[in-house]
């Protein structure tokens, strides 16, 4: 390898192979945790967005409270009288155990909801309201080995599988859809729904779609105090499940990154200490403090980049596994999360530079004479 400033830095890092490898493991685990957790929470958010977009949902009407889980079903009549609204479909969502190991999202829909338009029924038919019938997403049906005509137990009630469907959203393709009234009974939500999903009429001539939507939102809040109409994209990003997932992912990742940063800081501090005499030699040869500091920072950044690269691969692998496991397949997307991977890599380099800055500064401050005398 031709000698350059960067290759010199990397060779310094690689001189203590075991210590460097252990540090890289630490960084890799931290960044891997970041990519996995944040990637998972983002794919969760993305799946929500896909679900709304595929069904053509414009607004979700929910309670104004943060943990908004319950809307009176009678609100539907008020919504349908609002001139901008074409359809207001009630829905209930919950997480339920289908086996001791597998929890899945369960939706309660009306049999005639517009949201069925986003589903492709592969086997069987749509359920009927008021019947103990269930439709299973393709992924879930595969993992549970269920087909049309089989039964499935939920919360002590037995449902007949009447349809298997495919959906563009991971939240649906690994989920169960029940008749709304049956889902309300299972969830002890008689007369209540989680939200209304609203489809707007086309905006009249001379009115923009954005203005039309805003008018609908204002009308909902005026006619139904206590409720709010949230644009679908915003609902996907800001619903309580997604927010909690993001918060948990970032909180855990930051702790992992902090541990990784401490690992780099320790490695760089040790490295600078061990190479004190060498730093003295470099200073004697005319290297300025800035050049010494740059060298050590590049070493720290190289550690971050190498560990980050490993972490990104680790995280991506973990996301692929989560996307394949029956327990998590309904939430995790298998699409390559390019943004999260790049963020992970950049964060690793940034963590490296920050963690290396104090050792770099201390190394640069060494007096050449004192450094040369160091034993």
């Amino acid at each position: 390898m031709r000698l350059s400033f960067v290759s010199f830095a990397w060779r310094n890092v690689w001189r203590r192979r075991l210590r460097t490898a252990l540090t890289l493991c630490g960084i890799g685990m931290g960044i891997g945790a970041f990519v996995t957790l944040v990637g998972f929470s983002r794919s969760f958010e993305h799946a929500w967005l896909e679900m709304y977009e595929n069904a053509g949902t414009d607004l979700a009407v929910v309670q104004k409270t943060f943990l908004n889980t319950s809307v009176d079903q009678s609100a539907g009549d008020v919504l349908r009288r609002i001139p901008q609204i074409e359809i207001a479909a009630p829905m209930v969502i919950n997480m339920m155990a289908v086996t001791p190991e597998v929890n899945t999202l369960v939706y309660g829909w009306k049999a005639d909801t517009f949201e069925f338009s986003a589903l492709n029924i592969l086997q069987g038919r749509r359920f009927r309201d008021g019947q103990q019938e269930a439709m299973l997403g393709e992924l879930l049906a595969d993992s549970l080995n269920k087909k049309v005509g089989d039964t499935i137990d939920l919360q002590g009630s037995t449902f007949t599988v009447v349809g298997i469907f495919r959906s563009g959203s991971a939240l649906e393709t690994g989920a169960i859809i029940l008749p709304l009234d049956e889902m309300q009974n299972l969830s002890s939500m008689t007369g209540k729904v989680t939200a209304y999903h609203v489809k707007l009429k086309p905006a009249p001539a001379g009115v923009s779609q954005a203005q039309w939507q805003k008018e609908a939102e204002d009308a909902v809040e005026k006619d139904l105090p206590g409720l709010r109409a949230v644009p679908a994209a915003q609902r996907a990003a800001n619903n309580q499940l997604v927010l909690l997932a993001h918060a948990a992912a970032w909180g855990t990742s930051l702790i992992a990154l902090l541990v990784a940063a401490l690992g780099i800081a320790n490695t760089m501090a040790m490295s600078v200490f061990e190479r004190t005499k060498e730093i003295g030699v470099l200073r004697a040869m005319g290297w300025s403090r800035g050049r010494v500091m740059t060298l050590i920072l590049i070493e720290a950044a190289a550690l971050g980049a190498a560990g980050g690269g490993a972490g990104v691969l680790l995280g991506w692998g973990a996301l692929r596994i989560l996307g394949a496991l029956p327990q998590t397949a309904s939430i995790a997307s298998t699409t390559l999360p390019v943004q999260t991977l790049l963020e992970g890599l950049l964060m690793a380099i940034l963590v490296g530079v920050l963690a290396g800055s104090v050792p770099a500064w201390r190394g640069a401050q060494l007096s050449p004479v004192e450094a040369l005398r160091h034993e």
Partner: protein
């Protein structure tokens, strides 16, 4: 042959000075003045001179070499290179930073060679030029030429652990010369060598000094080695004693 050369801190430093390097009434103390390594030393070194500084351990000879090489600054007094103050002047007189002086005008040779273990001979010689903007092809060409000149053409890709002590010191000399310094400072350059290699290195240094007109300042405790220099100053208790 020492030389008393004026007062420290004079603003017109170096005007018409015969010295390439000059120390003026320099004192150096450590630990808040408890240890006095130099107690008022004045010395001039002419361009192309070969000066040996001798003395027992603790006499201050290495401290003086560090000040002459811009590795350290005096507690009192001044060090001048070609009439410019090293490390700055209090009265606005011409000065040169220690980093710039070491990078452009000074080369160091150490008793323990101090080669970087992760780099081979060619790469060690290039280190002073790394990050200075020098093109890699130029760096390699200069390093190769120097190592060949110093008889190491068969050892270019060897790492320090694969070289003999004499070869390591020759690599260190090449490294010290690569930036074409005006002043070469050697701290016990033969201290870790056997007599055969010592003689070779001394001969090499003398050749380099003669061929390039480099000013050579060598610290040694060995009077026989000092006798090979053009000039010789002896130090005792932080002062020049002859």
């Amino acid at each position: 042959m020492s030389s008393e050369t004026g007062r420290p801190g004079v603003g017109t430093a170096g005007a018409g000075s015969p010295w390439i390097l000059e120390v003026r009434d320099v004192k150096k103390s450590y630990e808040g003045g408890r240890i006095e390594a130099l107690r008022g030393v004045s010395l001039g070194v002419a361009k192309g001179d070969f000066l040996a500084i001798t003395g027992a351990s603790g006499s201050g000879k290495s401290t003086l070499l560090h000040l002459l090489g811009g590795l350290d600054t005096p507690t009192e007094g001044s060090v001048l290179f070609r009439g410019e103050y090293l490390g700055g002047a209090s009265d606005g007189a011409a000065c040169i930073t220690l980093d710039a002086y070491r990078a452009r005008f000074a080369g160091f040779i150490f008793q323990s060679f101090h080669l970087l273990p992760s780099l081979n001979a060619m790469e060690n010689v290039q280190v002073p030029m790394l990050g200075s903007g020098a093109h890699h092809a130029n760096r390699e060409e200069k390093a190769r030429a120097l190592l060949v000149e110093l008889g190491l053409e068969q050892r270019l890709r060897q790492y320090p652990t694969q070289l003999s002590a004499g070869e390591r010191q020759r690599v260190a000399i090449a490294r010290a010369l690569v930036n074409e310094p005006r002043v070469l400072l050697a701290d016990e350059p033969t201290g870790n060598l056997d007599s055969v290699n010592s003689a070779k290195i001394l001969e090499l240094l003398a050749q380099v000094q003669e061929r390039y007109g480099t000013t050579l300042i060598m610290v040694t405790h060995d009077l026989d080695i000092a006798a090979t220099a053009h000039r010789h100053v002896a130090m005792r208790d932080g002062r020049i004693c002859d």
